[in-house]
Symmetry: C2
Subunit: 326 residues, 2 copies
């Protein structure tokens, strides 16, 4: 079993926190955040000592209609600057670029022209070569880069090994991300997978990040489990806001980490001012029964999202639907 | 580090599940469950393969006024029998007896006169001698017995070691319970504590149980962490219903365990029929911010319960209140 690095009371300066509230949370409300929400979140993250804030996606407007989404689906340079100016803070700014859904040559300018610091390339295991191409393009343009391999809980182990080796050896990304897309992984599995990721990444001078979903109420547990054995870039969202069951809660993670630079109070103020009204307005996420069931059965949460939207509560019938023969 | 027993796909026949929905959940609604709720929960537990169902407390009516609580605060023999008859099922019936709040000689009859199978003695670390006396009395009366040591996260390590050794060597209880009363323990700590409990318990032919609270969304994670290294009696409640942040969710635990006797569907039906309306009626529990904060700071949730009842959302102010100098 992989050994721990540090213990509960030590702190590791390599550990950094990424706030993904706008990006993963945008999947809940179609990226329709008010500017005040975004500005206050940015300021809360700066005050809380959060290392990175992800504003949203760099989606291709030839694929997605700009009229159908809020602006953080596209993260135009001028929209980010309207919030952060020149971002004269220690907080770094991140955007996510999906393989096959981003026009990188048109929409990702050289770093010298952008206030963005990091591009996170999101890929499935079968598009790793395209992810390497995008990662290297973004790195050459001057950005910090991560590659996030999604939906690994349905990938074959051998295929994952090959993909990780290829990615680590061929890409210029600084981080490789362990992503629990379906919230189906248990801490025991995360420990084993994180150990695998770390061994391959470190061979090539890279680090490992984790992005966990909360379908089985394990996002925080899995994040700190991965952290304890050396994963160093940790994703979280305020109040866990994110697709379906949501993510690791920032307020839990910041309270756990022992680095004195982190401060939970600005996040608590943000929750009071923005998340309480947002929830009251009817925006729904969190680990309800339907998400537990897709997590337990290692499935994409799309049927659970539909179940939620339909305001169904017939959980037993739903369970037979998603585990049935048809 | 303690070694795992079994792995994710094996099953250990020693693992048993205890449903505490009425007992811990009763702390949320003052034990005011309808008979239909209790009967349906009993039948759901039987159908789900749950091993034990705890009906409530054996509270002393000289201390607690019977008019102020629902009947499951007192668990009279006739009230239990009105639900279960002779309990002609594999499900065993449990009640909890608090040290100092139970008149055992008056209210705990010989097992031959009772449909109850198990008495769980709840104690603080400073009342272990009284807990041993109660455990031995109940054992002599013919019951299975556990001793549950509460609030250990605030006890000194040396005091805990001494208490465990005394309890294991002197009591006739079959199980000693690791209880995370404040939901403040992290999986890494649970692993270390569970290993300690198991080593002492096994020396005297006893087993270990776990009762986790969900303040930091770790009740399920901590329960399966303890389970993985040999804790064998696992507490859970339907929808996590329990005091404050609540407990480990039955629907998560039953879906996790690999013993084919467990069946999640009756629990899902119960949730649809009873827990959805119960929540809609305004009964509140779950891991809200205020509970996370008492968990993080290793405090009794009583201030968070008051914060919830007052419908406050000024989390930052609350945080300064509970961490301040006064």
């Amino acid at each position: 079993m992989a050994e721990n690095r540090g213990n509960l009371t030590s702190y590791r300066p390599d550990i950094k926190v990424m706030d993904c509230t706008l990006r993963d949370g945008g999947l809940v409300n179609n990226f329709e955040f008010t500017d005040e929400f975004v500005k206050d979140l940015y300021e809360a993250n700066v005050a809380a000592g959060v290392d990175y804030m992800e504003f949203g996606y760099k989606a291709d407007k030839d694929i997605f209609d700009e009229k159908e989404f809020g602006k953080w689906k596209f993260c135009k340079e001028e929209d980010i600057r309207a919030i952060v100016g020149e971002n004269d803070t220690p907080l770094k700014i991140s955007v996510m670029a999906d393989v096959g859904r981003t026009n990188m040559k048109r929409d990702i300018p050289p770093k010298s022209e952008s206030v963005v610091d990091m591009v996170r390339v999101a890929t499935y295991i079968n598009t790793i070569p395209a992810a390497i191409e995008m990662a290297n393009y973004c790195s050459d343009m001057g950005y910090e880069v991560t590659v996030n391999i999604m939906a690994i809980s349905t990938a074959g182990e051998n295929e994952l090994d090959l993909a990780l080796e290829l990615l680590a050896s061929q890409s210029k990304a600084q981080y490789i991300y362990l992503v629990d897309s379906y919230g189906s992984l248990y801490p025991e599995q995360v420990r084993r997978l994180a150990d695998k990721y770390i061994k391959i990444a470190e061979k090539y001078g890279k680090s490992v990040g984790i992005h966990a979903h909360n379908n089985q109420q394990l996002a925080f547990a899995n994040t700190i489990e991965a952290c304890s054995i050396g994963v160093s870039l940790l994703d979280a969202t305020v109040s866990g806001m994110g697709r379906g069951a949501g993510n690791c809660y920032s307020e839990l993670l910041l309270g756990f980490l022992r680095n004195p630079k982190f401060n939970i109070v600005p996040v608590l103020k943000f929750i009071e001012k923005h998340m309480v009204p947002l929830k009251a307005s009817g925006v729904v996420w969190g680990c309800d029964v339907q998400y537990m069931l897709t997590g337990q059965t290692n499935q994409h949460p799309r049927t659970a999202i539909a179940f939620t939207k339909a305001e169904r509560t017939d959980y037993a019938k739903y369970y037979t639907e998603i585990t049935g023969d048809e």
